[in-house]
């Protein structure tokens, strides 16, 4: 190609530079991407439909499995929506414990994201170092809940774990983690090669961020004051003095730095929460009351990637409808303008810097037709002679 002919390059759905399947249709002119369009739907599992008819307690198990990186946010948001519907109040200690797990998850998610960005850049050493710090958080999860990825931490009006007795361990680990991340931050904050690779790439201005109504870290990296923990406090966030981490340029570099600063902020917040948590053992959870009249509950939380929203309707102690709006759903539209007028080599960097979660996005399964064996094979590209 000598710049004479435009062509469409399919980037994905399976591609080494993508951590999850998505099809990016890139209109190319040589090395330059003229425009890009995203097609998704490769990860859907019919979760919203699967929830219908289940008891509210069983719903927690399904909601937790929507995403492997933010299961706590999903289960906390769902549980709180059910509690709102049933007018259930929770004890202070339970609220603090949910907050500790949510903040641990935020640090975990940001470390995964930054690590993957380093991997996409070819900086694999730092990728492994950052994921070693992430391992520390998984160890804390294992110690607290018994699960490293899926924690089964929430129940309606209660939690399945207790930090009673491990307060000092948590505070010590937070100090170690902060020290570790600070050491690696020095590497990528001043590294000239990395700066060259990430500065002024994938820029989202504040005006664009407001126009596209972005949420979460990518909105804050572009200068938007958007944080549900402050805008619409839930659990006990209003008791803590927390200010959002705001950057202004909104390029790939700023988004990485914004997430790094949020890791430090979350570690400090966890220490404050641990010190404030009542030093008593949790009362074993009572059996959830039956919800027989039709009632609806709404809740939103600040998940690691941004605002997560749940709407739940319950009748006869069964979920009638559960609608969820994960953060990626809210900001996926920004991908197309970001993929306009960029270089092909920058595409993986741009995609990983907005940290999209296609497992969260693709929850819906549309069944048009039940396939027979041959049709299924044809769909998979397997040729048969019968």
């Amino acid at each position: 190609m000598h710049g004479e002919e435009e062509y469409v390059l399919p980037f994905g759905p399976q591609h080494p530079a993508l951590s999850e399947p998505v099809l990016l249709k890139l209109k190319m002119d040589g090395e330059k991407v003229i425009s890009g369009a995203a097609e998704f739907g490769y990860m859907h599992r019919g979760i919203e439909k699967m929830l219908e008819g289940k008891t509210p307690e069983k719903g927690i198990m399904i909601c937790e499995r929507i995403c492997g990186i933010c299961p706590v946010s999903h289960s906390t948001c769902y549980t709180m929506a059910v509690e709102n519907a049933a007018n259930e109040k929770i004890e202070d200690k339970i609220a603090y414990e949910r907050m500790i797990l949510a903040e641990l998850e935020r640090m975990h998610s940001h470390l995964v994201c930054i690590g993957l960005q380093m991997h996409d850049m070819g900086f694999d050493t730092l990728f492994m170092f950052l994921w070693r710090e992430r391992e520390r958080i998984l160890d804390i999860f294992e110690k607290l809940t018994g699960g490293r990825v899926q924690h089964s931490s929430n129940r309606i009006s209660s939690v399945n774990f207790d930090i009673y007795g491990v307060e000092n361990y948590l505070i010590e680990e937070m100090d170690k983690l902060k020290k570790g991340v600070a050491k690696y931050k020095k590497e990528y904050a001043v590294n000239e090669i990395l700066k060259e690779r990430t500065k002024n790439i994938g820029v989202i201005t504040k005006k664009e961020a407001e126009k596209f109504h972005l949420v979460g870290p990518i909105a804050r990296a572009s200068g938007m004051h958007q944080d549900i923990r402050i805008d619409d406090p839930y659990l006990k966030y209003e008791e803590f003095d927390y200010s959002p981490i705001i950057f202004d340029k909104g390029d790939v570099y700023e988004r990485t730095m914004q997430r790094t600063e949020e890791i430090f902020a979350s570690a400090d917040l966890i220490k404050k929460i641990v010190n404030k948590t009542p030093k008593v053992a949790i009362v074993p959870s009572k059996i959830c009351k039956m919800i027989n009249e039709r009632c609806q509950g709404i809740q939103r939380v600040e998940a690691p990637r941004g605002e997560l929203f749940y709407f739940v309707e319950i009748e006869n102690n069964q979920i009638k409808r559960c609608r969820m709006r994960p953060p990626t759903y809210a900001y996926i539209r920004i991908l197309e303008p970001l993929l306009t007028d960029c270089k092909l080599g920058d595409v993986p960097m741009i995609v990983s810097s907005i940290d999209p979660c296609f497992a969260c996005l693709d929850r819906v399964m549309i069944e048009n037709k039940i396939l027979n064996k041959n049709e299924f094979k044809k769909m998979c590209g397997v040729h048969t002679h019968d």
Partner: protein, 99 residues
Amino acid sequence: MMIETSDVSVNDLEGELTKRVSKRLITITCIERNDFFEVIYHFDGKNIENLKVMVKKDQKMPDISKKIPEAKIYEQDIQEQYNIDFGLPKKRLFKAEVE
């Protein structure tokens, strides 16, 4: 959390949604009842504001995505799941179809 809910008719919906152009649309929820759909628009603000509309199963819904661009992905989602006509192209966002 404070939630405000108001009911509107399909004819007044476009006007009511236009009044809320400056607000962020969180999402649109659709619930299937016996012979109609209940569509709820959730708007962000100091409190979450819900705008609820009852739609007959063969009734057309206004496409608000020109005024509120983020509505498009949610409208497309509902059009696919519940077959409510928002006047959007019949392409599939979440695809599982065999030609």
